[in-house]
């Protein structure tokens, strides 16, 4: 079943730079999809349009039946509640511990107190940080911090998990662990995962759906298992 659809999407920034040209693509429900491409090829722009940080200049983007490009600013939060978003730089609250960081996502949307605790504990357990509940981000390794960020992203049980170079700051071993974790979430929870990455090794090994961008154009859309390493 189709979950995400881009129809003739073009994105031109206010300064005149065109980051995405007439893009068409489709991502299935429950899919695990890598987005790859050289620096400046428009990967971040593409996923920013997914979570409606940026609006396409032309074309339409549909997620689970919702026309994201039609969404008004004041209603963007309704989309965000169905998404989980993870960045390269973790974006944790330094003065809050692991539990509080994850709970913050639920508090911010006004979740019931009773619901918060079990959901937070479940998410933290899933990312394997149960023993570090009261630790502060500064005392965690990069990989652990990224796990906290992932726990925060999945705590509200999103249908879609969006990751912009989540392993960009991590060494190869830790990177693989994080991708394994994302794969586990994808399989266990049925969450659709869209992950931007530079890491050829990971993409090569995982044999997933791969969307390759080049200078703002769709270079190739490899179905699961089709990907072969090429110089973009």
């Amino acid at each position: 079943m189709e979950f995400i659809r881009f129809n003739n999407v073009t994105k031109q920034y206010k300064n005149g730079v065109v980051a995405i040209y007439d893009l068409n693509l489709s991502i299935e429900k429950g899919d695990f999809c890598f987005i790859i491409g050289g620096s400046g090829s428009g990967k971040s722009t593409l996923i920013k349009m997914l979570y409606r940080e940026e609006k396409p200049t032309r074309g339409e983007i549909i997620i689970g039946g919702l026309k994201v490009n039609k969404l008004r600013n004041s209603n963007v939060y309704k989309l965000r509640r169905k998404l989980g978003i993870v960045f390269q730089d973790y974006r944790l609250l330094p003065k809050s511990n692991v539990y509080e960081n994850v709970a913050f996502a639920l508090e911010a949307i006004g979740a019931k107190k009773k619901e918060i605790r079990p959901k937070v504990l479940k998410a933290i357990e899933l990312v394997g940080l149960k023993s570090k509940l009261r630790d502060y981000p500064d005392n965690l390794s990069g990989g652990e911090q990224q796990r906290v960020a992932i726990a925060r992203a999945i705590v509200n049980e999103p249908k879609l998990l969006i990751c912009d170079e989540p392993t960009g700051n991590l060494d190869p071993n830790m990177s693989m662990e994080i991708v394994d974790l994302l794969e586990e979430i994808n399989k266990k929870e049925g969450t659709t995962v869209v992950m931007v990455t530079h890491d050829k090794v990971i993409v090569d090994k995982k044999k997933k759906h791969v969307i390759a961008l080049k200078e703002g154009h769709l270079y190739k859309d490899y179905k699961e298992g089709e990907y072969i390493d090429e110089v973009l």
Binding site: Y77, R80, L93, F104, A111, N156
Partner: protein, 299 residues
Amino acid sequence: MRFFRILGRSIRDAFKSVGRNFSLSLASISCIIVTLIIVALSIVITYNVDNFSSELKKDLTIVAFVSNEADKTDVEKLESDIKEISNVSKVTFKSKSEIKEEMMQEDEAFLNVMKQWDDEENPLQNTYLIKVDDIEKIGETATAINNLSAIDTVKYGEGMVDQLVTVFKVAQRVSLIAVIALVLMTMFLIVNTIKLTIFSRKREISIMRLVGASNFAIKIPFVVEGMILGFLGSLVPVGLLIYGYKALYSYFGGRLFTDIIKLVKPTPFIYYASIVVVVIGIVVGMIGSGRAVRKYLKV
């Protein structure tokens, strides 16, 4: 329900934030204190002036003296002529013989002279006693009455009344201008306090937005913070108002310089005024933070 959960968390966060940016919060609060003291002062002045002028209005009377040589027909329709003049609220006739009786009772010397006058000889004049609606226009009204041909002269408490009303009006106007200037300055300070809070919580706000907090949930902690600043700033002025006015009232014995100017009784006046002061503090805080939120949180 979600609304109240978000509100509850906002209030908690707002108190934390006031403590965290303590020095700037204190600056805002001080400014609110000064503003609200002036506000309280002008409430006291305005209310007392209003009270005093409405008291005056009850008492103040124009006395119009009917000319003894006036035309009979003019005199007959004089009462209806006076009533037609705008601002006239009540007209009473007092004949010269009534006045004679009153004067004779007042003073022995008058008695001796006056008891010999019969109606024809009585040199006193018939009078009309006239009350007005708007005390500030009493001068114009008196002139209008004086212009009637059957009227000789008019009298009312000219000098002093006019002067008192003017003095109080000026005091009222000056305090109003001061209040407006101070309110603006206070808002400016509140905007800056909230702006600082917003900057210190930039990361938090961006995460809130990311995880799908509504605009309301993002903005409300800052608005609540502004309201808290306004509320804290109103406490000192309210204390001053309550104890200060009571002290003032008993020091002057409920009157100002003369018996004409009676002060408003402290209760319940000071309590109503306190409520007004607190509400103004909170509203100013709310508007100030609302502006900051709109300007610096483009959500």
